[in-house]
Amino acid sequence: MSERLTTSVELPRPDASSWSLRALLDRFGMILILPVLLGIGGSMSPAFLSLDNLSNLLLQFAPLAIVAIGQAFVMIVRGLDLSVASMMATAAVIATSLSGSAGGVMTVFAAALLVAVAVGLLNGFLVTKRQVSPFLATLATMILLQGFRFAYTQGAPSGNVPALLRVLGAGKFQGIPYNALILLALAIVLTIVLHRSAFGRRIFIVGGNPVTGRLFGIPSDLIMIACYVISSCLAGVAGLILSGYVGLVDNWVGQGYELDSIVACVVGQVSLQGGRGSILGALTGAAMIVIIANEVLLLGVPIQVQLIIKGAVIVIAAALYARREASSVA
């Protein structure tokens, strides 16, 4: 995470779209891997491509995709957010502990988002004002949240997931999961924010080179803090949805999502060095992870082998996609 000025050629590509085939391939080419993966699944078992299974895939895809979008925001401003999984579990614990009270789901969402904003602000504050490296700052908030959660639940969360949350997390409307609809709405709004707004341009400028940003009079710190807040809010939402999907809550809801979301972003060509990336990329990466996990399941291999395949795929995918990420500074 060193912020030294690099002399590398790594400048963000201009957003002005050139419509040549090559430019299109460069920007959207990675999506082509998805039909290939789906095809492989279909050839392994016809049931894979059934509407039922596809809609189940969507169901599992949504929480990871939501987290990955937030992760992309943070990674574009040269950060990392390791606290997302902890945030997800915290949101889930909030959901069950408030389920008895009158306000219902709105209270739950409000409380979870409030905590998420606080966490995002803390992350952003540490990274910008105290110059702590993002890896470390978010690691610390991860442990902090974990500690508060354990202290609050005394190790064993109790209570039920509110009914409406169950519907949002696991229910389907005409075969389309509600959580996928939530994801769609979030993705559209955030795509506009990131790729079509002045704020989004500033995010890329700050991520590409914070010093340039400062020289242009962009409040770099504010932009970065905003990105951390966006990330933890999305993690909170994803945690609520996931708790609705799982149907019960323990202290570890969302475990593994912090690393999975980072992998999704890296595979989706969001640069670990900041300044480059897209929401579409994060979504593609998340989709790849979910599809591959599902296919491995379909092979009927034991869980152990799934881990091995997952690990290998992570490295291979990163090697294929992220060649430009010369493995210099993190």
């Binding site: 110059q131 470390l136 610390a140 690393l259 152990q304 490295v315 500074v329 993190a330």
Partner: protein, 322 residues
């Protein structure tokens, strides 16, 4: 060429190293002071030896992690490697004292081998170490679970001397960790290859331009980290008497905390293993203090996080450029 690099780095390196150490020493003193006020049994040789003993596992794994971080990378496969080596240790020895020596040697060699593979992949695929070691971690966890789905094997009674034994009153495992730490500290300081680790972490591009062999340095660094993980795995097998497939999970991220508390920069190039050792001691001391104060285990995590945030925001990363 290397001599020139060393000479240029000499002064600032020493200065920086000592500012980092001062921070962790102050924190240790502060925790000890509070401990002394809480209980008169806190500042006793016996208690400190206990804390020292409880530091062993974290110290061992963090020493290796320090090297990878110094070189500008990170090793996220440590947790799974610890699980694997601890399972292999107890599973292969399986209560047969004759097998102890070959298995110990084999496990340590395996740890280094995994480290070499990590380094090789980082160099060959040009992928960031974060991703490579993350993938390696998943693979190793899978292999571990293939080998054993639950607690496996047993170690002979004598073997737990490694974890509980005392030599001249000093806990054996912790003493080995300290000796290993001193050895690595000396090597980092005096061997050309050691200095090159700093150079590589400080500025990868310049290191390449002056002709440092990145492959060789990374092999050394990740090999050391793998070796330290294997040592931790051996220690845990000795402590619990049996290898468990998830025994190392928490060490992956936990191993980074002492490194940072000890004044090593996560961006690489600055710091050292002595600080890490003190950092691990600080964490064990803090947990010990909270035990004395009858604070629930759950709040120990909160306290740990607060210490990290305080420490890093006050002194560690302040000297970053820009």
């Amino acid at each position: 060429m290397t001599a020139a690099v060393s000479a240029r780095m000499e002064m600032p390196w020493r200065l920086r190293k000592h500012t980092g150490l001062a921070g962790v020493l102050i924190l240790i003193a502060a925790v000890s002071l509070v401990g002394g006020l809480v209980s008169d049994r806190f500042i006793t040789l016996n208690n400190f030896l206990n804390v020292f003993e409880q530091t062993t596992d974290l110290a061992l794994v963090s020493i290796g992690q320090t090297l990878t971080i110094l070189s500008g990378g990170i090793d996220l496969s440590v947790g799974s490697l610890i699980s694997l080596t601890s399972c292999l240790t107890s599973g292969l020895i399986n209560n047969n004292p004759d097998r102890i020596i070959p298995v110990v040697i084999g496990v340590l060699a395996l740890g280094m081998l995994v480290g070499f593979v990590n380094a090789g992949l980082v160099v060959a695929l040009r992928v960031h170490p974060l991703i490579v070691t993350l993938g390696m971690g998943a693979v190793l966890q899978g292999v571990t679970l293939l080998y054993a789905l639950g607690p496996v094997g047993r170690v002979p009674r004598g073997f737990n001397f490694l974890a509980y034994g005392r030599v001249y009153g000093l806990p054996l495992g912790a003493t080995i960790a300290v000796l290993l730490c001193l050895l690595i500290a000396l090597a980092l300081r005096n061997l050309p290859l050691g200095r090159q680790v700093y150079a590589l972490g400080d500025d990868t591009n310049s290191a390449r331009l002056v002709g440092l062999r990145r492959t060789r340095i990374l092999m050394l660094v990740y090999g050391c980290s793998g070796f330290c993980c294997a040592a931790t795995g051996l220690y845990l097998a000795a402590r619990f008497g049996v290898g468990q497939p998830y025994t190392g999970v928490n060490y992956t991220l936990a191993s980074i905390t002492p490194v940072v508390l000890g004044g090593t920069l996560l961006s690489g190039g600055k710091g050292g293993v002595i600080g890490t050792l003190l950092g691990a001691f600080l964490i064990a001391l803090l947990n010990n203090l909270l035990n004395f104060m009858d604070v629930s285990k759950h709040y120990q995590l909160v306290a740990q996080a607060v210490i990290i945030i305080l420490a890093v925001s006050v002194y560690v990363e302040r000297r970053r450029t820009v």
